[in-house]
Symmetry: C2
Subunit: 588 residues, 2 copies
């Protein structure tokens, strides 16, 4: 019953009008052949497959769930057929490297398609998302032979990928993992151990699954510097690329979860499975981290997509459902009640959803742009700046998109009243599906520690200074554009001040970073959205038409009713670590 | 796997040390025989049944769900036996009227037991909760004959109750309901119509179910002033109280929901069913509203209970799960990692849960106290003041307990990382079960409208002034007690200022109330918790022992890290209605 149409007009507004993507793409060799016309064609085709093939099996997939029997996982009805259509249309390789059969589209473009994918069917979206992540690791760190053997069928969607990191006793703290890799002498390794929470570890969508597995060599140093990365295919591959025997890797069971029930979350057992080293020995974590920024941004998009799907459904319901009268007098005089969208509090919920979604969508394009520049800009100083911004902004995007995306799905459910709690309407599934995005791919608490510790304090605020100047340049150029510019400046000042507070306190308080991190990330994310909303409002000003009227109204709501939270976050950051650390652990 | 022990020490602290319940109870005839010794015995026995009988069937009940077949509802395994034990021990009538077999315990006491009940098994708790609600309506507005026939078996738990309000086309707006009541000439009525979302409308726990049904008489005026309340038993009752034939009321189906899956949510069909008027014709809504304050407070307790259960489980996990090292250096040197409770951000999550739960528990006692005084205080001015405070504070309690309770369950789930998303750990069930409390018994948006419109603006802030003086008296008496007193004053000032802003703007802006309501309720709730935390800290000061050390530390966390949100809420309230109302409905 959920309603969802890909937000093509807003995507076009962001890419074309707000960011002038054409000139960005033209400025880099890798994207010089990409343009908005091509992008529009891709989005239209993408919208079609999302709306027509994936959305219709979203609810049924949730009810049916994946089934496990004798080591095999069966995806819900319709998933296999939809995946075949999806793969055959070339979507898996959309952002893949051209040399190995990918389509080479920039991240600034693919973020928009990924959002649609998560919006229409998050469980489905995860199968190709994990393949994309695995491809990126192979592309960046794998040998030429591994790339030639594995990337083409993965981009084609004939083979899928999985990322095998977590073990029963370790998730965040990968340094203590136990999976072993024994060199077999022929350049191959025997991988033995158990991995849990493996998304797409086993399923019936593809003829092969390529597992990227973190494991320890026999003589590896302890801790995170002793971890290596291996490629372990489900089915071994002959030299000619054809499939040979099953490898000694198997699925032991699947998890029963709160949501994303049509996505198989597997326990994977490696029993001396044949594997191939990716990158250097003991540098597996570093190899994982290079693809991390792409994957984290991608998981952030799950928050936006589900927030958007929830918004569109809630908007339709609020325009349709009649209940009580407008406080300003009946607007629907020939019926017994008015549509609930007349009520200010219903509007508050809808507008909150909307400003989260659209602020995030613009910020996703912004971070995607810097990712593309970090990868392919020829000017060294721009490339370096892009590197710093990507590192800084990615944890903000992942955590803030998914936290506010979750909030958005809860608000959308609330608009439906009691009907929102009933499964058939689909609103509660959005909440359950959105919840995982705050947890996996590094919990949002870990994102915040990464931001505050590695990305802000570790470089003494240098990367933050780059972002700050970006905002300041915009403010300087648009001083007269309206009240929102002063509000943006206030938020930036609060963020800047909190940054300095933590930089100072971190010098002699080991707990300063962790005590500030989550509220600091919230303050950062909120300021980033304010930056995006101010940019969007400036872009929309003076243009005629409903789209621009609506955009400016939403922006005004953001500055009046959402941005004031900045003061609360700043006060929390600045409160320091005392009240968190004074209580003995056993007195909780 | 969830851990839960009834928080008996905290309950004792709140009732005895913070509020001196003994002297309150001694001051009123209806409670003069109640004392803390008796209360402790009740709580210990209550804790036993909750921990030993209800908690063990909470997870299994969620997995099994209620089953529907041929009009019959089967509750999950163990529910029937647990209910029998529960009823036979007299728990259903705990707060019931003594004249009809109840135990007459005050609300200030029963809130604590209700919290335990929701904590250990919310689905189970709802069956007796609805019975209690129905009893209250019968007691307050029913004829002596109805009371004598129905109350004793309901207090005994032999018969259950249900409240039949919602219809497919109306929930909040009951004025447009369609269920008909035709007078049959013998003082009885024939009730015809369909009700939905009826909690406990049908089940296998009791031999009879007493439905309280809102319906319209043939000549009733339109709107809310044309609604009457009827008692419609599932099985008709002979004059001697024995059961006769089945009445023409049946369950058409049950809903498949996000949570509270072991609670039957029924579609109920009334097909000329025999019913008896409760109260006066066309005054059904008023009759419902008199019991509403009790029921709303009760649903608020669901938020506290689930927040507490989630907190206790998360605390145990954080003390046990080892992962990474403390930023201050290893504390667990003989193991590979430290328990995650060493991390400030994990502590932030746990402490946030805790201050929500304990602030709410104290406020529940406070509101319960005023409910008891409103019902039974002999001094007329105290009784009137209590009436005003109950009306004002109940919507705050219902909405703020359940909103923050939901947040608490989400935080507890987050502490578990990926394991929190897996069903077997039970943390995600708390989230799903808590979510409904924000929706039913009047959505929290409706609570906020009730607060802002009927309870604040309608009496021009008079009731708010009474609450404000209560806080001011406390502040005046404890001026030197610590920094928290000044913080409480700041929050009270913000709340007072926002109250005045809305009182003014409501004079010429029809949308002022609805635009401010939700943020106003949040500001009110936060200030109420600050009041409670300041009271608890003052009470704990100067006393020795871990309990008091821990209580004061939690309070310091509350004032440093939670109360700053007051500024954001106030800014939102004061922003007015423009940004909510300017956008045309079709431009959303």
């Amino acid at each position: 019953m959920a309603e969802y149409k890909a937000p093509l007009r807003d995507i076009e507004f962001i890419l074309n009008e707000v960011f002038d993507a054409d000139s960005i793409w033209a400025s880099m060799p890798a994207t010089s052949e990409v343009n908005l016309e091509l992008a529009s064609a891709i989005f239209e085709e993408g919208a079609r497959i999302c709306e027509n093939e994936l959305l219709p099996i979203n609810r049924s997939g949730d009810e049916e769930e994946c089934q496990f029997e004798n080591g095999n996982v069966t995806t819900p009805k319709g998933f296999k057929e939809a995946y075949q259509t999806y793969a055959e249309s070339g979507w898996v390789g959309l952002g893949g490297d051209i040399e190995f059969g990918g389509q080479g589209m920039p991240k600034m473009l693919t973020v928009m398609f990924e959002e649609m994918l998560y919006a229409s069917n998050t469980s489905f979206a995860l199968y190709p998302a994990l393949t994309t992540g695995a491809c990126l690791s192979i592309l960046t760190h794998g040998s030429q032979a591994l790339k030639e053997t594995y990337l083409p069928p993965m981009y084609e969607g004939r083979w899928a990928g999985s990322m095998c990191l977590t073990e029963p006793h370790c998730g965040t703290d990968l340094g203590i993992l136990k999976t072993k890799a024994e060199p077999k002498g022929d350049g191959k390794y025997a991988i033995t151990g158990t991995k849990i929470f493996i998304t797409g570890g086993e399923h019936d969508l593809t003829e092969n699954i390529v597992h990227l597995v973190l494991a320890k060599l026999p003589d590896a140093p302890a801790g995170p510097r002793g971890i290596s990365l291996f490629l372990v295919p489900k089915v071994l591959v002959n030299e000619d690329g054809s499939l040979a025997d099953r490898n000694s890797v198997s699925c032991g069971s699947i998890e029963h979860k709160m949501g994303i029930k049509a996505s198989a979350t597997c326990v994977m057992n490696f029993d001396g499975a044949e594997g191939y080293l990716i990158g250097e020995e003991n540098k597996g974590l570093a190899a994982m981290f290079t693809m991390m920024n792409y994957e984290r941004l991608s998981i952030g998009l799950q928050g936006i997509g589900l927030g958007e799907a929830s918004y569109q459904s809630a908007r339709a319901y609020a325009q349709d459902r009649i209940q009580s009268r407008s406080p300003g007098g009946a607007v629907n005089k020939d019926q017994v009640a008015d549509p609930i969208i007349v009520h200010p509090d219903v509007r508050r919920m809808l507008l909150t959803q909307r400003v989260y979604n659209e602020g995030a969508r613009a910020f996703a394009a912004y971070v995607g742009m810097w990712l593309d520049m970090a990868k392919g800009h020829e000017d060294e100083s721009t490339q370096k700046k892009a590197d710093a911004l990507v590192a800084l902004l990615t944890p903000v995007a992942k955590a803030y998109f998914t936290d506010r995306g979750f909030d958005a799905t809860v608000l959308g459910q609330q608009v439906f009243g009691g009907h929102g709690y009933i499964r058939e309407w689909g609103m509660e599934q959005f909440v359950r599906d959105a919840r995982i995005a705050q947890i996996y791919e590094g919990t949002n608490g870990i994102q915040a520690l990464d931001l505050m510790g590695r990305k802000v304090v570790a470089n003494d605020g240098a990367a933050f200074g780059i972002f700050k100047s970006e905002v300041e340049v915009f403010i300087a150029e648009n001083k007269e554009a309206g009240d929102m510019i002063a509000s943006l400046q206030t938020a930036l000042d609060l963020l800047d001040e909190s940054t300095q507070v933590v930089l100072n306190s971190a010098k002699d308080d080991a707990f300063a970073i962790g005590s500030a991190s989550c509220d600091y990330l919230d303050l950062f994310g909120l300021t980033a959205y304010a930056f995006m909303w101010a940019k969007m409002m400036v872009t929309a000003q003076g243009k005629e038409g409903d789209f621009y009227t609506s955009k400016i109204a939403a922006g005004q709501f953001f500055f009046a009713r959402i941005l004031p939270e900045a003061h609360a976050y700043a006060a929390k950051v600045n409160a320091g670590s005392d009240t968190l650390m004074s209580l003995e652990a056993d007195l909780f």
